[in-house]
Structures are given as structure tokens and as C-alpha cells.
């Protein structure tokens, strides 16, 4: 099975019309947008579109006409998520997206000079260390094409002069990381949220361009630390499929089990943090007590608890610990069922939680597709977006499980999706754990892995949504362009939509149930 993609090349002028017609054909989900610098060919982007009905994908590539002043039409009138993706591409490549109402920098500082992902970027333009604090932009930037063919820049203030704006973050207990929401309040009602990201952006994608493939792996665990297994799985799978390597059945099953353990781990942390955000400290500690058991299992086999470094290109790093099967059985047969019962007793059924979660932060199915909110957040609104069902990988085609979906789209539904998914994950593990096939845990690999020239895309179902890896190779031992479809970026982007009109306290519940992880947003 090859994961090579051959994007259809579309001229910049026809881009918007092509995308609109593809959307009309049923490609209604913009899975990922990748900016690329093709050197001589110019700067451009690759749009990866998916049919939500079938999971079928298509890719559209468009190159900017003018390298010195690159611009393309924005697609944010077609997909709401395009807005934030385009900001990212503008931030890194300087491609201006015409008519995007808010085309500011997103991760880098406002006073950053140049666009670092361009191949001809000169590092010496910026100081090694910035000595003054970071200016925060108060103006949304919009680029439009003037009649004389020049790109015109208009700036509009984000907040009015007399707005009561409260900073939620960057140091705040409920943003689950270093995220900064500038929140405009009317009394206690939220009327606008401007998310400011990039506080912990490490440039993993840029760093990867200078690393050999096995080195790139080391960075994946540091993105979504609650989906470390899955992120690494995605990159390994992408490289293996690009090389045409079939990993053994044993590895496939081990990876599946590990992914599911990671998912349970993530969902338990989701429950705990949500409880903590709502002031239910006891429920919070119950969750952590049970999560500890999973971390112990990881520790025995992988050596790590959070940063696991387990998947390798062509297999896994170590064979399973002799206690693995026994420990996992104890986890899925005793610890988790007992824990879930307690969670439901102390938290789910509590009338205070129910009234705070039901009907709060409702996202419709159209909203979640347009905003690209995959994972539990999407499924809570009735979108069947589980890649394990849509495009099965690893050992998911041989297990039976239910894709949990709800129709309500409120905080309660988002919460229940995760709680039910813990049960489904246990069921998946139960089907696999007793008959892990024998076989090699590591295929023989060349000392230097060189991926053949081409463009590749693979995706897995991460703990909080679709985690895609876009890989472009020129046949070297380092990737030419490596882009991750972050699960969290669309989720942070939807906060404004979900929270407006609700109370400040609901912002915390909604943020908790939407479940984003900041290191994954700030790659």
C-alpha cells in the first residue's frame, strides 16, 4: 500500500474556483493545508481535501505566480479552518492570502524579520535572543488585491477602545498549556476570543528538514505528549509506506495496542483535567490514580512514561516486557472498569456538572466539519470522522469496535464521547492482547534511510483527532518538507465560535471538553 500522493496542479488564478467545485463534489473537509517552498518552482501550498462520507482524499497544489510577492486566494470562505492554516503558511512562507480577514503571524513574534521556512531564509536577520518582551498585535491584517494588481494591506483593530478584555493565559491553570486567550467580556459573558499562540513553538517542522529520518522521530513525542505513541506511529507509518516496507504482524498489533493504551491515558487525563477545571478535585485525583497504572505499563516496556520513544521506522524499539500481557489484563479488566464506575458516580451523574455541561458550547455538524474539529469533538456533533473506521491502518481492520458518536454537540456530548471511547479502547485491546502474533519486532533497515523522491501523506487517529504527516522528499536522507496536521490547532481555532455568548465559567468547560494540547498546536 503506497501513500504517495500526486497533487493536481492548479494555476493560482483558478485555485479558488477549483476548490469551490471540489467542495461541491463532496470534498467538504479541508484536512490539511501545507505550505511548501519548491525552490525554483516557487512558493505554494498543497490543499488536502477529504470526502467526509467516504474518507476519500484529493490533493490540490497551487504555486504562487510571483516569488517576491507571493499571494493566493484565501479559502476561508469555503472552510473556516482554512483561516488559521493560512495564517500558519503566511507566518512561515510569507504567502499572503487575499481576503483572509485575519492574516497575521500566528506562531512567530510580530517583529520577526523574514519567513523562516523559505529555503533562502537568512537566520542572521533576527537576533539570537530577543531581549525585549514580545509585542502582541492588536490589529488584524487583511490583504486584498487592488485594481492596479498590487496587494493592499488593511489593518483593523481586534478590540475596541472601551472593551473589557481579560487575559486568560499564558500563565493560567485552565488553558492546559501556554496558550493565551484575549477574552472580551460583557459582564460575565464572553463576546470574543482572540487566541494568541506560539509561546512554546519550537519549529519542529523546520528542525526536521535538517535531521535524518530516525532523528525526526525523536521530536514527535514532544508534540502531543498525550498522543506520543500515535504521533510517532504516524511518522513511522508514513516513512515505511513511502519506502514500501511491510512491518510484521506483531509490530502492527503492538502498535495498535499501544495506540489504544495511549488513547485511554489521554482520555483519563481529559477527565481529570476537566474535573479539576470545574473544581471537583476529588474526581481529578481519581483519574490520575488510574492513569498511573497505564504509565507503569509504558514504563516497563518503553522505559519512558511521557516521552516514550517506542516506535521506530520498520518496527518498534524493544520487545514487550514479560509482564505486559498480565499488566494490561489487570488494567482493562479491573482498574479501568472500576475507575469508570467511580467517575460516573462522583462526576458524570452530578447535577452541578450536568447543568454546566448540557447545552453549553454547542457545535453543529456543519461547524465541526468546517472548522476541521476531528476526534472526540467532531464525533460529539455527529460527524463520523474516526480514521480507524474510515481508512483503517495497523491492526484496526481486524478488530470490532463501535465508533462513538453523539448528536448534541455540547460539552456533555464531548465528555461522554471520551468516556465511552475508553470502553471501546479496552474492547480493542481485549481482542488483541491474548493473541499477539509472533514475529520480528524490527525490519532490517539500511543505515541511512532515504525516502524516494515524491510526496507522501499518512494519517492516524490520534487521541484528539486526525493526526496527519505530510512528507515531501527529494530522495535525500532528510525530508525536504515535513508537515504535521496538528490535532489541536483547529480545536483552538474553534474556541471563539464555541464560547461566544456563554459565560466566562463556560469558557473553561468548553476548553476542557474540546481538549486541545498546546505543544501540539505550537509544533
Amino acid at each position: 500500500m503506497s501513500n504517495q500522493i500526486n497533487p493536481t496542479i492548479v494555476a493560482a488564478a483558478e485555485l479558488h474556483a477549483t476548490l469551490a467545485s471540489l467542495k461541491a463534489e463532496g470534498y467538504d473537509f479541508l484536512e490539511v493545508l501545507t505550505g511548501v517552498d519548491w525552490g525554483e518552482e516557487g512558493l505554494g501550498v498543497v490543499y488536502s481535501l477529504t470526502k467526509t462520507a467516504t474518507g476519500e482524499m484529493t490533493h490540490v497544489k497551487s504555486v504562487c505566480a510571483d516569488k517576491d510577492n507571493p499571494y493566493l486566494d484565501s479559502a476561508c470562505d469555503l472552510w473556516a479552518v482554512a483561516g488559521i492554516y493560512e495564517r500558519e503558511a503566511y507566518d512561515f512562507y510569507g504567502i499572503k492570502f487575499l481576503n483572509n480577514p485575519d492574516c497575521r503571524r500566528v506562531f512567530l513574534r510580530e517583529d520577526w524579520i523574514g519567513f523562516p521556512f523559505r529555503k533562502d531564509y537568512d537566520e542572521s536577520q533576527n537576533p539570537e535572543f530577543f531581549l525585549e518582551s514580545e509585542p502582541i498585535s492588536d490589529k488584524a491584517v487583511c490583504f486584498t488585491l487592488a485594481e492596479d494588481g498590487k496587494v493592499k494591506k488593511t489593518e483593523t483593530p481586534i478590540f475596541g477602545k472601551n472593551d473589557y478584555v481579560v487575559n486568560i493565559g499564558p500563565q493560567h491553570p485552565s488553558t492546559h498549556g501556554v496558550l493565551h486567550f484575549r477574552t472580551r467580556l460583557d459582564g460575565e459573558t464572553v463576546t470574543k476570543i482572540d487566541a494568541h499562540m506560539g509561546y512554546i513553538h519550537r519549529g519542529i517542522e523546520k528542525l526536521s528538514e535538517g535531521y535524518a529520518y530516525p532523528q525526526c522521530l525523536a521530536l514527535t513525542d514532544r508534540m502531543d505528549y498525550l498522543g506520543a505513541m500515535q504521533t510517532r506511529h504516524a511518522l513511522c507509518m508514513c516513512v515505511e509506506q513511502a519506502l514500501g516496507i511491510e512491518v510484521s504482524d506483531r509490530v502492527q498489533v503492538i502498535r495498535t495496542i499501544m495506540d489504544e493504551l495511549q488513547r485511554i491515558d489521554s482520555h483519563l487525563l481529559f477527565f481529570s483535567c476537566l474535573a479539576q477545571d470545574l473544581g471537583a478535585t476529588t474526581a481529578f485525583l481519581y483519574g490520575f490514580r488510574d492513569r498511573e497504572e497505564i504509565l507503569k505499563i509504558f514504563e516497563k516496556t518503553c522505559g519512558g512514561r511521557l516521552i516514550l520513544n517506542y516506535n521506530m521506522i520498520g518496527g518498534v524499539a524493544y520487545d514487550l516486557h514479560p509482564d505486559f500481557v498480565k499488566d494490561v489484563h489487570r488494567l482493562i479488566d479491573e482498574v479501568i472498569p472500576h475507575g469508570l464506575k467511580e467517575y460516573h458516580e462522583i462526576f458524570t451523574g452530578n447535577v452541578i456538572f450536568q447543568t454546566r455541561a448540557k447545552g453549553v458550547g454547542v457545535l453543529s455538524k456543519d461547524d465541526v466539519i468546517s472548522y476541521g474539529c476531528t476526534g472526540g469533538t467532531g464525533r460529539a456533533s455527529g460527524w463520523h470522522c474516526d480514521l480507524r473506521k474510515l481508512r483503517p491502518y495497523a491492526a484496526y481492520d481486524r478488530v470490532k469496535f463501535n465508533e462513538i458518536t453523539f448528536e448534541e454537540g455540547d460539552s456533555m456530548a464531548r465528555y461522554m464521547v471520551r468516556m465511552k471511547e475508553i470502553e471501546e479502547s479496552c474492547s480493542i485491546i481485549r481482542q488483541l492482547i491474548d493473541n499477539i502474533p509472533e514475529g520480528s519486532i524490527q525490519e532490517k533497515m539500511k543505515p541511512f534511510i532515504k525516502v524516494p523522491e515524491g510526496t507522501y501523506y499518512s494519517a492516524v487517529e490520534g487521541s484528539r483527532g486526525i493526526l496527519g504527516v505530510y512528507l515531501e522528499s527529494k530522495g535525500d536522507k532528510t525530508p525536504y518538507r515535513l508537515h504535521y496536521r496538528s490535532t489541536g490547532l483547529p480545536l483552538v481555532n474553534v474556541m471563539d465560535k464555541a464560547c461566544c455568548g456563554h459565560l466566562l465559567a463556560d469558557l473553561i468547560t468548553i476548553g476542557g471538553t474540546i481538549d486541545y494540547i498546546i505543544p501540539d498546536v505550537d509544533r
Binding site: Y164, V166, N167, H172, P173, S174, L185, E188, A275, Q276, D277, L278, G279, A280, T281, T282, A283, L285, Y286, R289, I346, F347, N350, I352, F353, T355, R356, L503, L504, A505, D506, L507, I508
Partner: protein, 360 residues
């Protein structure tokens, strides 16, 4: 039963024998003030330790166990740390109000603390409208909280203070109604008489049966809200407002809020014990001579403290089980449910009392 009047009268006659009247009063006032402050500090430390251990017990944890045996010295270390911490002042705060606010809070809390009847004859503030005085003084605390929020010039503090103001003023209504219902039963507003009556006639919660039990349950809810304790800790709501109205306080200024919060909880439990559970009155059962004699050997303040800690356990249980309410739900609960219920209870209690449906 041990009567504390013996001690006070002995001291009074002793001082009067060789000092003029004004000096006697002065010395007695100083002694009483020292007693209040000492008790206040001691019980704050006990409460903090208890809170930590009890919540650890609810949460399958151990709680503090490193400093001293069973972590007993942990609280002392924390108090010492808090007292030696630097007090940070920001240029844009309103200095005077910012500094005055914690004192208002802690003063209100101390004065209400001295209303508690500890033992027969051991009561610091006691006069015929004691309950009324208690309600009036406890309202001063909210002024301190509002000032703290306003003077800090911080948005979190302001929102916290606004919430706190709305919350405390609302829930005071319920507390007042519950108190009224109980006064209806007792016929007196003096704490010492309320206790004495309960020793003679039986505890109010039993005398007043159904309406009194309902009042007690509503009091536990409203009391937790009055103390800004979870599930009603919206003014602090650390996950929304970082620390609410005391965000900008540090060192001992913050310590006063912390202290007052714990002591308000103690006072809340103390008043519940006095009004519903007999205060220092022993559980006497008519015709059980042997039992009554043994019970009367136990001094009143032991009974009082046992009852207070029982109510405290109930309050902690409530605190560590529920998630936090939202501000609109909190006010709905008060204005749409609690207040009508307490009003109805007042009427029911009045009917019970006037038609003699009470157990004496």
C-alpha cells in the same frame, strides 16, 4: 456541669480586691482579647491540618506526612513561611484600600468568632440580640472582599469581588431566614439563653423536628456559600480567575484572607452547632438518670467542639465532593429555590410553634 462563671467571677473579685474598677476592666479586656486571638490562631491551624488530612482521605492520598510526625508541623511551617514572605505592592493599586481590606475581613471574622458560646458562662459577646449582632457583623466581611477586588486594579480580582458580593449578599438572606425560623422556636436571640434552653428542653433540631432538620440542611448549603467554599467558591474559582479577589495579595495580607476563610468555616459550623445541636448542652434524655449523670461529667466546651467538628466534617464532605457551580446557577439556586424554601420554613415553624407541634 462545669460552669465557667466560677473562673471569671473568681478572677473579677481577685482583681477588684486590689485594683480600681477601671484597671480591672482594662486587664479583663486585654485578657479576653488575648484569649480570642490565641483561640483564633489555634483553631485556624487545627482547621488547616484537618482540611488537608480529610481531603487527602477523600481523595485516596496521604496528605502532609513529611514535616513532623504525621505531618503535624507542616501547618506551622506554612504559617511561618507566610509571615516571612515579602508583601508585594503594585504601583497601580489603591494603596490605602488595598491594605485596609484584609483587616476588615479578618476583623469581621474575629468579632463573629467571639460570639460563639464555648461553655456555660464562657462567652465573650453575649447580649439579648446576639443573633442579630452576629448577622450584622458577619456582613462586614463582604465589604473587605469588595474593597480588595476594587482596589487591586486587576480584572480577575474585580470579577471575583463582584461575584463574591452578589453571592454573599444573596445567601445572607437565606441564613437570616433560617435564623428567624429558629428564633421563632427558641423565642430568644441571646446565644447563651439558646444553649441553656436546649440543655433544659432538648436540642432544637429535635424539638423543631421536620422544619428544623430542613433548616439545618439548608443552613449547611447556605453556610458553605457564605464562606466562599466549594461548590460555591466562584469568587476564587482558581480555574477561571486564578485566585479571584485576592489575586494581587501576597505574604501575610493573603494570609489574612486564608485565615478568615478557614475561621469563617469554623464560625459557620459553630453557629450551626449552637442553633441546631445544642451548643455546649449535653445530650440529655429524660428519665435516663445514669446516662444523664455521665453526660454531665463531660465539660460543655468538649461537647461544643465535638459538635463543631461534626458539622465541619459535613461541610468538608460537601466541599470535596461537588464540582463548582456557575455564577448564574448559584444565584438561581438562592433566589429561586433556597429563599422561597426558607420563607416557607419560617411560616411552617411559626405554625408549629403557635399550635404547639413541638417536642419539649
Amino acid at each position: 456541669m462545669f460552669d465557667f462563671n466560677i473562673v471569671t467571677q473568681w478572677l473579677d473579685t481577685l482583681l477588684m480586691s486590689f485594683l480600681p474598677a477601671w484597671a480591672t476592666v482594662l486587664i479583663e479586656c486585654v485578657l479576653v482579647a488575648l484569649a480570642i486571638i490565641t483561640l483564633y490562631a489555634v483553631f485556624a491551624i487545627v482547621m488547616i491540618y484537618m482540611e488537608r488530612k480529610v481531603c487527602a482521605w477523600f481523595q485516596c492520598r496521604l496528605g502532609p506526612d513529611r514535616v513532623g510526625p504525621w505531618g503535624l508541623l507542616q501547618v506551622f511551617c506554612d504559617v511561618l513561611k507566610m509571615m516571612t514572605k515579602e508583601i508585594v505592592n503594585f504601583r497601580k493599586t489603591d494603596q490605602l484600600l488595598h491594605r485596609a481590606a484584609p483587616f476588615l475581613v479578618v476583623t469581621a471574622s474575629m468579632v463573629t468568632f467571639s460570639c460563639l458560646p464555648w461553655n456555660k458562662g464562657a462567652q465573650i459577646i453575649d447580649f439579648n440580640v446576639g443573633v442579630f449582632f452576629f448577622l450584622a457583623i458577619s456582613s462586614i466581611g463582604v465589604v473587605g472582599i469588595l474593597l480588595a477586588g476594587w482596589s487591586a486594579n486587576n480584572k480577575y480580582s474585580l470579577i471575583g469581588a463582584m461575584r463574591s458580593g452578589a453571592q454573599i449578599i444573596s445567601y445572607e438572606l437565606s441564613i437570616g431566614m433560617i435564623m428567624l425560623a429558629m428564633i421563632c422556636l427558641t423565642g430568644t436571640m441571646s446565644f447563651s439563653e439558646i444553649c441553656q434552653q436546649q440543655e433544659n428542653l432538648g436540642w432544637n433540631i429535635i424539638r423543631g423536628h421536620v422544619p428544623a432538620v430542613l433548616c439545618f440542611i439548608l443552613y449547611l448549603i447556605a453556610g458553605n456559600a457564605e464562606c466562599n467554599r466549594g461548590p460555591f467558591d466562584m469568587p476564587e474559582a482558581e480555574s477561571e480567575l486564578t485566585a479571584g479577589y485576592h489575586t494581587e495579595y501576597s505574604g501575610m495580607d493573603f494570609g489574612y484572607y486564608y485565615l478568615a476563610e478557614y475561621m469563617n468555616l469554623f464560625i459557620c459550623a459553630g453557629i450551626a452547632a449552637t442553633i441546631f445541636l445544642g451548643g455546649w448542652a449535653a445530650p440529655l434524655i429524660p428519665d435516663w438518670e445514669m446516662w444523664n449523670e455521665i453526660m454531665l461529667y463531660v465539660p460543655g466546651f468538649v461537647w461544643f467542639l465535638m459538635k463543631v467538628f461534626f458539622v465541619l466534617m459535613l461541610l468538608l464532605w460537601e466541599r470535596w465532593t461537588f464540582p463548582r457551580l456557575r455564577i448564574d446557577q448559584l444565584l438561581n439556586l438562592e433566589w429561586k429555590y433556597m429563599l422561597p424554601m426558607t420563607m416557607a420554613l419560617l411560616v411552617v415553624m411559626a405554625i408549629c410553634v403557635s399550635f404547639g407541634f413541638i417536642w419539649n
